[in-house]
Symmetry: C2
Subunit: 333 residues, 2 copies
């Protein structure tokens, strides 16, 4: 497993993948063969501020590299919460990491470790991971939708990552599916996220739970807080109110997939994230409405599938970034 013969002029066969989360900092070694090994993790402890996080991240990277016997120039790929400018490796700000504003994540890790470092936002990494090692392996035209607390996305079109002039694009959770729809946390109106994100489903569930119709949802919550999983439990138990609630979210998801199909003519839409685990009560209404919202010929090209990398999507995608040579390397300007 240990790559002792790598030189800086050949493509690296093993790289260091980092997933910077709000709670945990995770590092592992990923190989071109899709192997993931030498995992280490530590609390992010974001409350200690960016410098502390960056220093501990660098130490964790070096520890994993030493453990795996990687050479000093083995590159690093980092999946970070966004918005992040992947060209410069700068995190503009992120709700999950208090105090982070214009943090030069890529350049600082490069400086602290001496390793070439590339960065991208976690949703783009999850999509890239699925293309490199997961459900969309070898595909050129892929949409990834990560449905969790928020909704993130990634687009690979003609084999290229679509992220725009400053690398901020693919905010697929913030496509408007209903111009007079509900307000979104981004400030927008009628965003996909405002229907299907964990917070949106929870909000609807809480409102219903205060009414006479909300008995099954209240029971599923067992006195605790209501979240997407609570609604899913009630729906599986046969509650029509919970099913209708999830179907409404699912339809918004289907409308967005239809629009994405008309824009990108993709071969695959890959759906991941914790809320997607709600399953058919959410996804079946989505599948049913897609055809009404895209061209027949493009519907023929399309398959909608589950992500396969789970929580490791970000790590695999960060690795995919680092395994590539190319224009997305930071710190070279």
């Amino acid at each position: 497993m240990v790559a002792t013969t790598q030189s800086s002029t050949q493509r690296h066969r093993q790289v260091l993948a980092v997933d910077l989360g709000g709670t945990n900092l995770r590092v592992a070694v990923v190989g071109t063969d899709g192997s993931l090994s030498h995992r280490q993790h530590a609390p992010t402890a974001a409350e200690l501020g960016p410098d502390s996080v960056l220093e501990r991240m660098a130490k964790l990277i070096q520890s994993v590299a030493a453990d795996a016997g990687l050479p000093p120039d083995a590159p690093v790929g980092i999946a970070s919460p966004g918005p992040i400018n992947p060209r410069e490796g700068v995190v503009y700000f992120t709700p999950n990491l208090p105090g982070w504003r214009n943090v030069p994540l890529g350049p600082r890790i490069e400086q602290l470790t001496g390793r070439p470092t590339v960065t991208a936002n976690d949703a783009n990494c999850a999509g890239l991971g699925e293309v490199a090692f997961g459900a969309a392996r070898g595909r050129t035209d892929v949409i990834y939708l990560g449905i969790g607390t928020g909704v993130g996305g990634a687009v690979i079109s003609g084999g290229h990552l679509v992220d725009g002039v400053r690398g901020l694009g693919a905010e697929l959770g913030h496509m408007c599916v209903a111009m007079d729809g509900p307000r979104c946390t981004c400030g927008g109106i009628g965003c996909l996220e405002a229907y299907v994100a964990g917070w949106a489903i929870a909000r609807e569930g809480e409102m219903v739970a205060t009414t006479a119709d909300g008995e099954a949802i209240r029971r599923a919550a067992e006195g605790g807080s209501i979240h997407a999983g609570t609604i899913a439990v009630a729906a599986r138990a046969g509650d029509e109110v919970a099913r209708t609630l999830l179907a409404r979210a699912g339809r918004a998801l289907g409308v967005a997939i239809g629009t994405l199909t008309n824009i990108f003519n993709p071969e695959l839409v890959v759906i991941g994230g914790g809320v997607a685990r709600v399953g058919d009560h959410l996804l079946q209404p989505a599948r049913e409405i897609v055809s009404s919202h895209c061209f027949h010929a493009m519907r023929e090209d399309l398959r909608i599938v589950d992500a396969t990398l789970g929580d490791d999507g970000g790590l695999f995608g960060a690795a995919a970034l680092a395994l590539e040579t190319g224009p997305r390397r930071t710190g070279q300007a």
Copy 2:
């Protein structure tokens, strides 16, 4: 102007550009310097069937080539109504050309003229034309929206044309902006086109014109049929009903631009097509609502501008296709 020294191994400096329209067939010579010369045109006469159109197109191409003294291997680019598979040069069908179904436009013209031939749909060509020779010259991240009888689009992201696995994408007129909105001619619901296309504005105008509120619109129609231009005349004359009607279409346009901004983080949105000439009564409400529907940082990167190539956008874009070497050449399989 005449390129007598071109060899087949160097990039051609002048190419033959073809715009296949429902009414007219237009051919011209376009140079890398953006010069357009040796124009010829003929009626499409689509009612005579595909073979007749293809033969007359080939003759017109050869006539223009002879006139300009182009070598026998000077390539051809064709802008065609869609849906068209640009990889194979096959027009699947098109409402504007009766009887066209799976017509091998690219391969047939290649066969009839002996010239390498590339094809793309007219909206993609119009967008490529603006990037190569027009309002978006030299830009890498551009959205083109052509608002006419229908609404077409093109996307250039990171310098690459985004058109999907079979080249059918960028149907930006058929993004859903309102999941419970009006039915669209594509069969979908709440498409951008169902708000802002010439046919949609005309439909709204006709409905209003039958009511007591429709007096100014009826007057503007002067006894003739009502179309987007009619509503624009009434709006310019101060009619609040016409202004409200156009503002509603404009808001849908702005919502779509907001979504496209969140997806593509573009530097430029270029708006062309006949209905766009309605001007500020349509475009100002669009501009006003964009910020409410996209992220602040991406709004900062964005400018919304008018197309500059007018009716020649298709010709220029077809030329841009043919001037490039690359993977989009048909008939090589």
